[in-house]
Amino acid sequence: MDTDYIIITNNPFVASEYGEDHLVDYQEESFISLLQRVQRFVYEGHELLSHPLSGSVKPKETLYKSVLIAKKVAGLDLSSLKLIDSSIETCEKFHYKEETNEKNLEDMRFVDYTLISSAIASADV
């Protein structure tokens, strides 16, 4: 499907569910590393389409995050820049958790999937 957005994610479940029909840029990495990757895209001129922080699942409560960015390189968008920078700063104050239980990991992946799906639903309209 030719969408005008890319899904940047570290969530293998999102990669597998959306990989076929959508542009997905998946890498296995930490939460903060994912945000930093999004930051690089923003610096290169991609607009942020979804908020880098999820509702109330605090960063570091979950290992997975997916973010939508515009496919087009339009030039540096200041509000996207402010948003990704301040989101990374916000992440700093949270107490990092390690998780090994597979069921919990599966749940975290699923919740991230539903959150990004709600954004994709809006983006696809």
Binding site: S54, S56, S86, T90, V111, S118
Partner: protein, 426 residues
């Protein structure tokens, strides 16, 4: 729209052979209630328990807290579009069982929802330690998807609350409160000199464990709109939101929204309480812009002088909060916002993820990162298996002596952003 709210004060809750309310005591037949809960085949089993204020009891993981109510007279029924058929509510007569609540508990996903301690330091931080709680610990069948289970538990809670509320239908309330709102024209004619004030409520709407329903509609899909403040008293807004325990609005918070009660107290005296405006907190940035633009537009179209704005949650909703505040102020409408804070365990980090000079009147529900030691209690309703997984807890949470070192985040309702509690920060 006029609603007569009758309070039935519940002094005690006991299990009995027959469900009924007599002399202020609620008797619940476990068998009957079990049937109501297990109507949904996706639920395998349910166990019931009663937790009373002051007991050495910990309830965890808490999903929702619901106050049983019944619509005695007037259009529609409780939880319209969810339990009752869709129909405009908020008028006529409704009874509420005060002093007790139905609490749903059970594992939904890996990161769990919350703790209610009925005694000890933890009890000071949750309003639910002051209620008699009828707890339902619910087990799903095997092989069920998370969102299916979430929905099943959510609805089971509402069914149970409706069943119990129904027991009060023929009773006489111990006290009655009347809430009356005017139409636009009535209000202008009746209170021409009073400032026009509305309550703008932001609803969490982002996905699994993050949803709110308005007359059964997922708030993600709504555009900002107007309600009569009495509609929520009949359950027009219900919670599907589970994170975080401290600042998510339980259905109890929606039913008993304190901003609405406190604005009604001033209605006709110092203000004209015009209406309630609800808006959402979506993940997609353009949705945030649209919703905040719309909310500000409504404030202007309604010729409001001031509003109270409450948010739900943290992080990305902080962006909505500030967008709403800025845009509404830019329309010449004065705002007071209610939020909570995540200032880090040392209180030194920036409390909100976004900020603006326009937000110059803020009420805070406190710093959710504050660390608290919860002592070991005698009884746990639910399970302690997930205690380290709750947002605000960690692998270091469980201490050798059995006490818990956690952040206020884990306590259900601790930093609620409808201003339900007295907790604050400076």
């Amino acid at each position: 729209m006029k609603l007569e709210m009758g309070h039935i004060n519940i002094k005690d809750v006991q299990f009995g052979s027959e469900s009924k309310i007599a002399d202020g005591v609620l008797y619940v037949s476990e068998d009957a209630l079990r049937q109501v809960v297990l109507e949904d085949e996706k639920l395998k089993s349910v166990s019931f328990d009663i937790a009373k204020p002051g007991e050495s009891v910990r309830i965890t993981p808490v999903k929702d807290v619901i106050e049983p109510r019944v619509k005695v007279e007037g259009q529609g029924g409780i939880f319209p579009g969810v339990i009752s058929k869709v129909g405009t509510v908020g008028s006529g007569k409704t009874y509420a069982l005060k002093g007790m609540a139905v609490v749903t508990a059970g594992k939904i996903v890996g990161f769990q929802e919350g703790i209610i301690d009925m005694t000890g330091p933890g009890a000071d931080y949750t309003p639910f330690s002051k209620l008699i709680n009828l707890v339902m610990v619910i087990e799903p069948i095997a092989d069920i998807k998370q969102h299916q289970y979430e929905k099943a538990v959510r609805l089971a809670g509402f069914r149970a609350a409706t069943y119990i509320g129904e027991l009060a239908r023929e009773l006489t309330p111990d006290e009655t409160h009347i809430y009356e709102t005017c139409t636009m024209k009535e209000g202008l004619e009746k209170y021409p000199e009073l400032p026009r004030v509305a309550y703008v409520q932001m609803l969490q709407s982002q996905g699994l464990l993050h949803d709110t329903y308005v007359y059964g509609v997922d708030a993600k899909q709504t555009l900002p709109t107007i309600l009569n403040p009495t509609e929520v008293m009949d359950g027009a807004i219900v919670s599907g939101n589970c994170v975080s325990a401290c600042d998510k609005n339980t259905t109890y918070h929606h039913l008993n929204n304190p901003v609405i009660t406190d604005l009604f107290a001033e209605h006709g005296k110092t203000i004209n309480f015009v209406c309630q405006i609800i808006t959402n907190e979506n993940v997609y940035l353009a949705d945030k812009e649209r919703s905040s633009d719309w909310t500000a537009k409504l404030c202007k179209m309604l010729d409001l002088d001031g509003i109270i704005l409450s948010q739900e949650g943290f992080g990305n909703p902080d962006t909505d909060l500030i967008m709403n505040c800025k845009k509404i102020e830019a329309q010449g409408v004065k705002t007071v916002i209610i939020t909570d804070e995540y200032a880090g365990r040392d209180g030194k980090s920036q409390s909100l993820a976004d900020a603006d000079a326009a937000a110059d009147a803020v009420v805070t529900g406190g710093n959710a990162n504050q660390v608290i030691i919860l002592p070991k209690l005698d009884k746990v309703i639910g399970t302690m298996d997930y205690i380290t997984k709750i947002a605000g807890a960690s692998d270091e949470t469980l201490r050798e002596d059995g006490s818990l070192e956690v952040e206020l985040q884990v306590i259900t309702g601790a930093t609620n952003e409808t201003g339900f509690n007295r907790l604050s920060a400076r």
